[in-house]
């Protein structure tokens, strides 16, 4: 075990405490709940169409995801064109 590799472990206590606090708070207060209309409404969709064009390559990044990944944040609105 190196000095550098071990010190970040010290954050485990505060992180664990915060995680438990928020998990229990939400379990009691349910502030994160709402009607899941995305999956609870009857939606009939025609097949999705579209295009994919290679425009660039990234090399040597340390990020595991694209920056600003919002593919699952259905309710986060982005710029509206019409």
């Amino acid at each position: 075990m190196s000095d550098d590799g071990g010190l970040w472990l010290l954050a485990a206590g505060p992180i664990g405490a915060t995680a438990l606090y928020w998990a229990l708070y939400r379990y009691y207060r349910n502030t994160d709940k709402s009607h899941a209309f995305e999956r609870e409404t009857t939606v009939e969709a025609k097949p999705v169409t579209g295009s994919d064009t290679l425009i660039d390559t990234v090399t040597g990044t340390r990020e595991t995801r694209i920056s600003g990944d919002n593919v699952h944040d259905y309710r986060a609105r982005v710029r509206r064109d019409g």
């Binding site: 409404t41 295009s51 994919d52 425009i55 340390r62 309710r75």
Partner: protein, 438 residues
């Protein structure tokens, strides 16, 4: 359809981000921490069973009248657990008419064009009074009904029962009503079960004053919207092409190479029976000042079984009045349609294993159909004193399916103590580990 000259503003949504109703709600029965790792008392609460939500289907329905069709008496009650009305005078029973078939609401969604507004969903006339008076046909006395909170009344003199059935322009009379199927005792049991799972850290005063028998049955106003729309989204997606590590020992780091794609997607879809709160107050889901998101969560209802309006269904229950017009609700509809479109296209971008960043979106609403309905909710409330008038906590039971959701006020010091204790234990384990390892 959206007017290109004046783009509708998004509804006031002061609370956003993690932990707010703007989050896509988690799948049912999901707790972020594995309960098996938590102390016994907390684990028992988490793993106790939830109230079961019933799947309800109503039998075929036929004719509906406000007077008893057999004897003409007005003393009519709703038979709980069914959609049947019973005449208290001659015991005649009959069923209301389903709006789904009567107005053809389930058909032709893909051919929907323009804005179709049912007569009960018309714009509210600001001058229309919410107090309505009737001349009793039995004895001639004046009877007043306050449509803000009730839709039926009884003549004090001759016991004649009145119901507001005429579609006046004050927003009180909807197109359809969904009668209660869940009885009061059932609702009380569900609320008790819900709270029993949340006692350990609940506010002491809440536990002391907990009397679920005080639950009230209330008909809340909703707009049930069918829509036909097209949406287009565009953004960037990344696919990982290489993963490698550089350096050695402590400087060992992982790097990635990726291809970046311009991603465009388009989807045409129809939405059937999307429920939207048609009361401005109930539609405000700001979790800092109210707990209306609780009532929002017990949606949806089996609105396919809604019956043609008949005030007799509301006898013995309170009601809230609609105060929003179709145009004022359109921004919220468009917001939800865009969310649905984003959920629909999510499946087509799975190959982007480094995710997609949507940058632009477009929505074209071809047609919408708006039907106003009263939907049945059992509401238990607890007022927690505090700053700015405190906070009203709701526990709500869906009057049809039995789905239960609630907000239980927490005893902050207890919760903090539990979190700090857990944090201290973890921290001591870490310190012990570091000391042993070095």
């Amino acid at each position: 359809m959206s007017d290109p000259k004046t783009p509708p503003p998004l509804p006031a949504a002061p609370v956003t981000g993690p932990g707010s109703p703007r989050d896509v709600p988690p799948l049912p029965v999901q707790f972020p921490i594995d309960p098996a790792t938590l102390p016994g008392a907390i684990r028992d609460e988490l793993e106790a069973p939830d109230p079961v939500a019933l799947d309800t289907a109503s039998p075929e329905l036929r004719d509906g009248l406000n007077r008893c069709p057999k004897c003409g008496a007005t003393d009519i009650r709703h038979k709980l657990g069914s959609d049947v009305l019973v005449c208290q005078y001659c015991r005649h029973e009959w069923q209301g008419e389903r709006v789904e078939e009567a107005f053809g609401l389930g058909e032709g969604l893909d051919r929907l064009r323009g804005t179709v507004i049912a007569s009960g969903a018309r714009d509210i006339d600001a001058g229309a009074a919410s107090l309505m008076s009737f001349k009793c046909t039995g004895c001639g006395a004046e009877v007043t009904i306050n449509t803000e909170s009730a839709m039926t009344a009884r003549c004090h003199w001759c016991r004649h029962v009145f119901g507001v059935n005429e579609q006046i322009a004050n927003g009180a009379v909807p197109d359809a009503v969904l009668p209660f199927h869940i009885g009061k005792e059932d609702a009380v049991a569900r609320i008790r079960q819900f709270v029993d799972k949340r006692r350990l850290f609940a506010l002491k005063a809440f536990k002391e004053q907990f009397t679920p028998e005080n639950v009230v049955g209330v008909y809340l106003p909703y707009m049930i919207v069918d829509g036909n729309a097209s949406a287009a989204v565009s953004g960037k997606g990344e696919i990982k092409t290489r993963e490698y590590t550089r350096g050695s020992g402590n400087n060992r780091k992982t790097y990635y190479d990726a291809d970046v794609y311009q991603v465009d997607r388009r989807v045409d879809f129809t939405v059937d029976d999307l429920p939207l709160e048609s009361s401005a107050e109930r539609g405000n889901l700001d979790t800092r000042v109210n707990t209306n998101n609780i009532i929002n969560t017990i949606l949806p209802f089996d609105t396919k079984n809604a019956l043609k309006w008949n005030a007799s269904y509301l006898l013995g229950y309170t009601s809230e009045k609609r105060d929003l017009d179709v145009e004022r609700m359109r921004p919220r509809l468009e917001d939800q349609l865009l969310s649905i479109a984003r959920a629909q296209v999510a499946g087509s971008v799975r190959r982007y294993d480094r995710g997609v960043r949507w940058e632009r979106e477009q929505l074209e609403v071809h047609g919408t159909r708006w039907v106003s309905m009263y939907l049945p909710v059992w509401l238990y409330s607890y007022h927690q004193p505090g700053r700015n008038g405190g906070l009203l906590h709701y526990i709500a039971v869906n009057g049809r399916t039995g789905e239960t959701m609630g907000s239980v006020p927490v005893q902050q010091w207890k919760l903090l103590l539990a979190a700090l204790t857990t944090g201290t234990i973890i921290e001591s384990l870490v310190l012990w580990f570091l000391v042993v390892a070095s």
